[in-house]
Symmetry: C2
Subunit: 96 residues, 2 copies
Amino acid sequence: MIKIVAKNYVKADKVNDYIELAKKLVKATNDKDAGCLHYQLYQDATDPQVLTFLEEWESDEHLKQHMEAEHFKEMVPALSEFQEKPGELNIYQVVK
Amino acid sequence: MIKIVAKNYVKADKVNDYIELAKKLVKATNDKDAGCLHYQLYQDATDPQVLTFLEEWESDEHLKQHMEAEHFKEMVPALSEFQEKPGELNIYQVVK
């Protein structure tokens, strides 16, 4: 099991556009992608320009398949157009 | 429900010390703190110095109680001694 934190910094005037498109990516991912345990968009409670996908996948392979899916390849570049600066992606493993 | 990403950058020679103490905080929190839906330590798959608490709480009030608990007040300052630079704390709400 792996967890992903994909943190994005969105232009102030593009927050609504970002959310609208991101919701489509969330729906497509939850509907279609095998091994998806959790995939949801979150907004920082104090800074609305910070919009982060918190994800959980059964395996690296399932994550890889997600990143090769049509909906991912179509929407992720479009989402990046709304970003103010590069985001941060962390792929995490639980510490046992 | 709120989710927390508490990302920490730990000194290279203090990673094991950090993990050892953090595990005690994880155990105490899961054992004692009401409203704790998830509270676990994760390590970045590519950078072992990035050690992050991914948390989920029923409410702000439960989070507040956690931050006033003895185990929190005792261990969090001690953990910060092992840090290389200030961490990042994001409190997230789901985007519906």
